[in-house]
């Protein structure tokens, strides 16, 4: 690395980090974006569903490079297989469809290609990108600067920066470095497993299957994956079951109302991860440090979706930091609180509201009543008149 001084060092080049980086660089802020991986997005820990609006909102061009399949709506199922179909090709045919004058509602993206594409966009905007580089620690130096320690091909490097952005995902360590309380409760982290499969037909809809029998505390899903493939997965809350996600996925595939549909399926890939169905972090900043994306728990607590919120969170962070750094303001915790306030106002307050809706459902101890409420909430959430449909 020829430079050892940047305005901003961003740790993690997922959707949150690369979006923050790109928007800062476009405003002339010098940015080092680093990621410990050798190939972004791999191993895949995501199903890749994202709305078109989420991409357009932060200026990500819709590109064949990362799209696996276009999405036109949702099918929400209850435990017995009753389906509420919300197909925007039928609801708003003037707008949504595969025709020349129509658009898709969203996409299933390949996270390996998507994350690389976003990183490339940042790089082209002037960001210095470095893979195989792990953030190890950071140390505030004074009111305006900190020192960030990284490891790159076994070499330790120190970089002086005005602040560090922790965009290091759900396994975030950056918040811990600053002594923030980042711990997720076990009853709010869904343990997820999914297969990419062949020979399971789909129809341009994201299918979500609720019901304690199939996915206690979470839901199961069937997403189109392009080239005739599909994704089948689920997330479970460990405190609500004695079995693991692997057992539940097998049970769902072999015993649910979809067993015939899945009977011929071939598994092509195995993936998993943790999805926080939790509130955003109460404190997302410290001296010379802010958190964005999964690291700040910017995840929709009803759907578990975090790509949209990572992209918009990155944009909000970049907007705030551009103004802050251009005015040479100090970067102590007290000066960065305004970032969190801006985020709450634009996005976070709605996420807190969703968190309350979710908590209320799971406070219900009677399983059939809870299942019913989850199904109704999910169906309402994706309907055209939902107040949340743009999260």
């Amino acid at each position: 690395m020829s430079e050892s001084r940047f305005d901003v060092v961003i740790i993690g080049s997922g959707p949150a980090g690369s979006t923050t980086a790109r928007w800062l660089a476009q405003e002339g802020i010098s940015v080092l974006l680093l990621d410990k991986r050798q190939e972004l997005g791999a191993p895949i820990q995501c199903s890749g569903a994202v709305s078109r609006h989420a991409l357009e909102e932060v200026g990500v061009p819709i590109s064949e490079e990362f799209i696996q399949e276009a999405i036109y709506g949702f099918g929400i199922y209850n435990e017995a297989g009753k389906c509420t179909k919300i197909d925007y090709r039928q609801l708003k045919p003037d707008e949504y469809g595969a025709g020349e004058s129509q658009v898709p509602l969203g996409y299933v993206v390949d996270r390996r290609r998507f994350d690389r594409y976003l990183m490339t966009q940042a790089e082209r905007a002037g960001v210095t990108v470095q893979l195989k580089t792990e953030g190890i620690a950071y140390q505030p130096l004074d009111d305006h600067y900190c020192s960030v320690t990284v490891r790159h091909y076994n070499q330790t490097q120190h970089i002086k920066a005005r602040l560090v952005v922790g965009a290091d995902g759900l396994m975030s360590q950056v918040g811990k470095w600053a002594g923030l309380r980042t711990h997720i409760r076990i009853n709010e982290l869904a343990s997820c497993l999914q297969f990419v499969v062949d020979k399971v037909p789909t129809d341009g809809l994201l299918e979500i299957i609720t019901g304690h029998e199939w996915a206690p505390g979470g839901y199961a899903w069937v997403f189109p994956k392009g080239h005739g493939y599909a994704e089948i997965g689920l997330g479970v809350i460990p405190t609500l079951t004695k079995r693991d996600a692997q057992w539940h996925l097998k049970h769902f595939m072999e015993s649910s109302f979809f067993k015939k549909r899945f009977s011929d399926c071939r598994i092509l890939e195995v993936q998993g991860g943790g999805v926080p169905l939790a509130s955003p972090l109460r404190t997302q900043y410290a001296d010379q440090m802010i958190l964005v994306g999964d690291a700040a728990r910017h995840v929709n607590p009803i759907t578990g979706g975090g790509i949209h919120t990572a992209l918009s969170g990155g944009y909000i962070a970049a907007r705030f930091l551009t103004d802050h750094l251009k005015h040479d303001r100090p970067t102590r915790a007290a000066d960065l609180k305004a970032y969190q306030d801006a985020w709450l106002q634009k996005l976070g307050n709605k996420m807190w509201k969703l968190y309350e809706v979710k908590t209320d459902i799971f406070r219900e101890k009677d399983i059939p009543t809870r299942d019913k409420r989850l199904f109704q909430t999910m169906a309402g959430y994706f309907s055209p008149d939902s107040e949340y449909k743009k999260i």
Binding site: M171, L189, S191, A245, Q271
Partner: protein
């Protein structure tokens, strides 16, 4: 679920899908993470809450009581029995 005495975690690498859920749930205040994005297996955990074992989607984490010394090659899948 919680045990007081320190434990050493063992991961059956053959089943691990590298999903990071165990790291995400770990309440250790300092990083307790292996180079493979799992919880550490080369030093003892003194909290021993076992949340990592409950969150693992493929149940491939178990533990032994910490005896004060490391087994010969902790990353080489010591006797794993699940």
């Amino acid at each position: 679920m919680s045990e007081r005495s320190p434990v050493l975690f063992n991961i059956g690498w053959n089943a691990c899908i590298n999903c990071g859920a165990c790291v995400a749930i770990c309440p250790q205040p300092e990083p307790f993470i292996s180079p493979f994005d799992t919880i550490s297996v080369d030093r003892p955990c003194d909290i021993a809450c076992m949340l990592c074992e409950s969150i693992c989607p493929v149940t491939t984490i178990d533990h032994v009581a910490w005896e004060g010394t490391l087994p010969q090659s902790p990353l080489n899948n010591r006797s794993h029995h699940t």
